[in-house]
């Protein structure tokens, strides 16, 4: 039985021996050739037609669903008006419908065919024409799910590379804006665009980026995260060294600061390099709100980052090693809560944190209608029952909840992750060495952060190395008219940004 199956399989394979690369003067032969190569795929269609004036037969091949079917009809319907007497070549004739390229071999044609081109074979010709008529169904532009703002544009990127670049072009009608194409992935042939503004973006950085992209040898790039992992500076760090954004306005503003963006077809996220630590705490809203509240909110975010990172570990350290630091009355209350609880504070905190992480993961993965059930169960389990059952002390619940809320303040989801990971490390240090452990761990973390680089630029830039003039938009944000120059860390040419004076009524 199995022998016979194998034989049949071999027989099926047989036609492969007839594969040839050259283009046959018989149009239909070429179609069969392509069908052989693509294994008779269902989505490859062909239409035969004749040029009436010359009585030449032709075959048009395309992948269903990737091309504009109206344009295909246009080619077919206009064929009868084609006249070779006008000295009109086929190429210029097809060019009227879409960008047309000439090909002389089947392998050259296939990638085009598979990425939204219509391929036309004409009897008597040993070359073929591919007309770019890409039109795939795509999601409409909606508000980004991450990086939401109260005031500011509501547009977010979608999965189409062209639409995404157009969203940036719309905001940046500058002739110096460049979109440099790349195709990466031997099988996926993912289209990628490197975007930058010539004259602002650093040339050496661009060269480095091009090199890193060219070094990628993979069969597939499915979305921006694949690219990020393949071009980032350091792998063994929890901290992200490539920034990703779903917002065209964010990408535009970074381009104007001399950074470089990488658009990946099929992903609604655009990568931005170099990425600095402080940048992950910035939000588009910082620039749409007034400078005073924007600055305060930024400081609040840094404060929240400290809470998200250190609150549980500080609680563990202080209540198990440094009780003398707690005011007497508070100590009494804390001690009262820990009366009769069976676990050490560290175990309590770790269990609570893990419970929370499970709930959080469940909340994200759950189908939306069930999501509410998770939050109700979570609130009951964490908030009420655990304390009433005397398993956890109420103070630990408060600390863990505070930590959880603080960790949602991060404007960038990718920066929240390192803090989630390190939190557990700090809790371990706190449980073993108290505040001493925390301070050693924190110092180690700072050293590590200072050692990181993103495309040659120190990760902690603006703060360390300290750049005084860039403090205008680092921890706080000063009013727009004060930012007369672009950030010095990422931009060394065309420094001046504006000459606007301090706004005031004419005197």
């Amino acid at each position: 039985m199995s022998v016979r199956l194998r034989r049949r399989y071999k027989q099926n394979k047989q036609p492969a021996t007839n594969v040839h690369d050259h283009i046959s003067p018989h149009a239909m032969n070429n179609f069969h050739q392509i069908m052989k190569r693509t294994g008779e795929s269902d989505d490859i269609l062909h239409r035969s037609f004749t040029f009436p004036t010359t009585n030449t037969k032709a075959t048009l091949i395309y992948v269903d669903g990737t091309v504009d079917s109206q344009a295909v009809e246009k080619i077919l319907s206009r064929a009868k008006f084609y006249s070779s007497k006008n000295d009109e070549s086929y190429q210029s004739y097809f060019n009227e419908v879409g960008t047309t390229k000439l090909h002389t071999s089947i392998p050259g044609i296939l990638p085009e065919l598979l990425s939204g081109h219509v391929v036309i074979f004409i009897d008597g010709e040993t070359s073929a024409y591919s007309v770019s008529l890409l039109k795939m169904s795509e999601r409409t532009i909606t508000e980004p799910l991450t990086e939401t703002v109260i005031r500011g544009p509501r547009e977010g990127f979608i999965e189409s590379l062209r639409v995404n670049t157009s969203l940036v072009r719309r905001r940046l009608a500058d002739e110096k804006l460049r979109f440099e194409p790349r195709t990466i992935g031997s099988r996926t042939k993912t289209k990628i665009n490197i975007a930058y503004i010539e004259g602002i973006a650093d040339e050496s950085l661009l060269t480095e980026l091009r090199q890193r992209l060219d070094r990628i040898e993979t069969d597939s790039i499915l979305e921006d995260g694949n690219i990020e992992e393949l071009i980032q500076d350091a792998t063994y760090t929890p901290f992200p060294t490539v920034y990703s954004s779903e917002r065209p306005d964010t990408v535009t503003s970074h381009l104007l600061e001399g950074k470089t963006a990488i658009f990946v077809d099929g992903s609604p996220f655009v990568l931005i390099v170099p990425a600095l630590f402080v940048q992950f705490f910035h939000n588009a809203e910082d620039h749409t709100q007034r400078a005073d509240i924007a600055s305060l909110v930024r400081l609040l975010r840094f404060g929240a980052a400290f809470i998200a990172l250190l609150a549980p570990s500080l609680y563990i350290a202080i209540t198990t090693f440094h009780q003398e630091l707690i005011p007497t009355r508070l100590l009494g209350n804390l001690a009262a809560q820990s009366e009769g609880t069976p676990f050490p504070t560290f175990i309590e905190a770790v269990l609570m944190e893990i419970t929370f992480e499970i709930l959080r993961e469940a909340g994200i993965r759950m189908p939306q209608p069930v999501g509410q059930a998770v939050s109700i169960v979570g609130a009951i389990v964490i908030g009420q029952a655990a304390v009433q059952a005397g398993i956890f002390s109420a103070a630990v619940v408060i600390v863990v909840s505070l930590t959880a809320i603080a960790s949602f303040v991060f404007p960038s989801y990718s920066m929240a992750s390192p803090f989630r990971i390190l939190r557990f490390g700090f809790m371990g240090l706190a449980a073993s060495f108290g505040l001493l452990g925390i301070s050693v761990g924190f110092t180690a973390m700072l050293l590590h952060l200072s050692s990181l680089k993103s495309f040659g630029i120190p990760y902690m830039s603006d703060l360390s190395p300290f750049v005084y003039s860039d403090q205008k938009d680092a921890l706080i944000r000063l009013p727009k008219w004060m930012m007369k120059e672009r950030p010095k860390t990422t931009d060394h040419q065309d420094v001046e940004r504006q000459h606007t004076r301090k706004p005031s009524p004419d005197r």
């Binding site: 009780q323 804390l334 809560q337 009366e339 609880t341 050490p344």
Partner: protein
Amino acid sequence: MLMKRLSSGLLVILSVLLLSGCWDRWELNELSIITGMAIDKSDENYELTMQSINPAEIASQEIGNGYAQSFNTTEIAPTIHESLRKHVNKSPRRAFISHLQVLVISEEVAREGITNILDFFYRDHEVRSDFFVLVAKDDQRAKEIMGIVTPLENVPSQNMFDSLQYGARSYGGTRIVTLDDLYQDATAPGIEPSLMGVTVVGDLEEGQERSNAEKNTPSTTLLMEGLAIFRNNALVGWLNQDQSKGLNYITGDIRDSVGSFTCPNSQEDEFALESFKERTKYDVRIVNHKPIIDLTVDIGAHISEVNCKDLDLSKEENFYLIQEQAEQEFVATLQETVKEAKAHQADIVGFGQMIHRKHPTVWEQLEDNWAEEFPNVEVTYEVNINITDTGNIINSFSEDD
């Protein structure tokens, strides 16, 4: 290579974490938080009473059983630290004294000298030096003071702590002396320590009962009064409340206080001044090789109560009359204070330090004999009261109107 580096790194971290073994880790429910200590004399040894709070009972949550909010244990051992560690013999938890708030020393012990007992408190790393030190007055046993249950604040040590703390901010009859202050006064030349006194008012037996705290008028309360005077770190006498207040004025340790004074126009009636600002300056003059200390006390006050008949406060001259009267009585109080200190040859004010600072060479001659020289030092007083306000009304209402 990478795996080797990773695993060796992990090994180092694990061994550091696990071998250290959290050796000085104490969970909150393993600690007995001691907020008060009392030291009495028992034959040859010290009798140490430790008051620890019962967290479940003092918490605002309803998790307690309605038992006492604190509990006292008493240990007898040759040294204080040993008594402290023996606490666990009677209690299920380890004694933790960083949150000590008051230390009450019995008068008997204080008369013998406090140097011995304080050594532990200065030396131990767990002790914070910001608790208050008091002396049990009227031959009251310090241990008994720790057992008086009163309303509002059921834990006696907390009660004393708060009473002293807020007393200093509203009346000034008490004097806050922390272990730090005591250390400085006891070791520095030219000043002697003084400690706040505490005693029990009412029936001792009833005061121990919880019913005492359940009454509107508790039959027994704690009373913060009097200031113990020390010479060579041994108790030699007491100042009364007015004199303690006087001492606070001289040393500038008063913030907000109220005093009653005789009316300028009649000896029977009185008025009250509330002082809100106080500054003391001193100067030392050398006349005939003898130091004379000039004290200047500036007080900002307003009239807070007037019972004087026919005193028209809308007239400026009457203001001056009142000021003058108050100044005179103030000077008398200050004189009383210094007189009492001189009687015990105990320089609790720190005149010696004043001389040392202004005339170091003169001090060198006096230093060795200071206890004998101190009563001979002449002191002049100048009190300036600046009355700024009469309160919400100007004149008292009278039947004539």
